[in-house]
């Protein structure tokens, strides 16, 4: 038993965990690329984001060792994602329920370079 184990430190994870996690992430990247080239209409974005969320979860859990993190760290991660959800949700609630013409005015002229050929 090495010194760090009886001091409560986590032992190193096996290399195969990192390698298999990497391979799954590469496969998911290839899948998301080919799915995106298909014309799936309204389904494309949920599928692409769904794959991205799975990939993100794999990175967070295994590369970032959150599967063995302290509960306090997990609470911080949860809060961070919760606040991000609040931010994005209220952005959309605001912009979809109010008919404010605050997005870029169509009157702004196109910039034409002075010395255009």
């Amino acid at each position: 038993m090495s010194a760090h184990e009886h001091d409560g430190m986590h032992p190193p994870a096996p290399v195969w965990m990192y390698v298999s996690n990497f391979l799954v992430l590469v496969v998911l990247t290839i899948v998301t690329y080919f799915v995106a080239t298909l014309n799936l209409g309204a389904f494309s974005t949920p599928i692409a984001l769904g794959i991205a969320v799975v990939k993100a979860a794999l990175v967070v859990l295994f590369f970032m060792h959150v599967y063995e993190s302290s509960p306090l760290t997990k609470v911080v991660i949860f809060c961070s994602l919760f606040i991000l959800t609040v931010l994005l949700t209220f952005f959309m609630v605001d912009y979809t329920t109010r008919n404010l013409n605050v997005l870029p005015p169509d009157e702004v002229p196109v910039t034409v370079p002075k010395k255009a050929a």
Partner: protein, 263 residues
Amino acid sequence: MHTEAKAPAATAGHDQGHHGAPDLAHHFVNHAQQHDAGNLGMWMFLSTEVLFFGGLFGAYTVYRHKFEKVFEQASNILDPFLGGINTIILLFSSVTMALAVRSAQQGRSKGIIAWMAATIVFGVMFLGVKAFEWRHDAAIHVFPTSDFCWSYAREMHVTHEHPEYKARAPQTYYAKDQANPESRQGKMFFFLYFSMTSLHALHMLVGFGVMLVVMFYAYKGYYTTSYFVPVESIGLYWHFVDLVWIFLYPLLYLLGAHLQGSH
């Protein structure tokens, strides 16, 4: 101080676990607690980073909702294949970084240095691909410093001409842009694209700097199997940079990949 006056016997209980551990700060009970505290601090920082990028993702969400069609056309100008290659390069750099942290857990300083060097190599490769893309973006007039020209970029993309040698888009294209409100919507996509990817690239450059410092300390034999918080923290930071890219890739590159004219 009053603690100095105490007899050694009185502090024996408090000192438990401290003996012979120069890599343990005195206010921690043991190495595991010290490790968890460092880990928690890094995640606190990463939470602020989530909101930092979150603001840009929010802007993207709002404008994409408003300019749905043009955002797809603008995304179609980007090369999803190159973006995919870059995603895989970044995943390579993540796995090498994970192995650098594993070397730290095993107390192998040479492993830390070698795996981090590999991480930097993959990071530089990623930025190399990005530079190649940005050069093309400048040539088709969507790069921030090149006079933005939506109709020119669209046409060059569809015809696959080689516009690299034209310093300016011809005047007729700007006239077309003036008559077309969609050019401003396309400009918004590219504003967001360059803000998000350049902020991401900036994070990578910062990561390189921190990695070089950590590699220097590893070379000096500063890290032990019970103390390697800086190695693990830069590891978390690097994986976070990977996480941001995992979301940027589908939102920016894959949005218009199904349209005609894509690579």
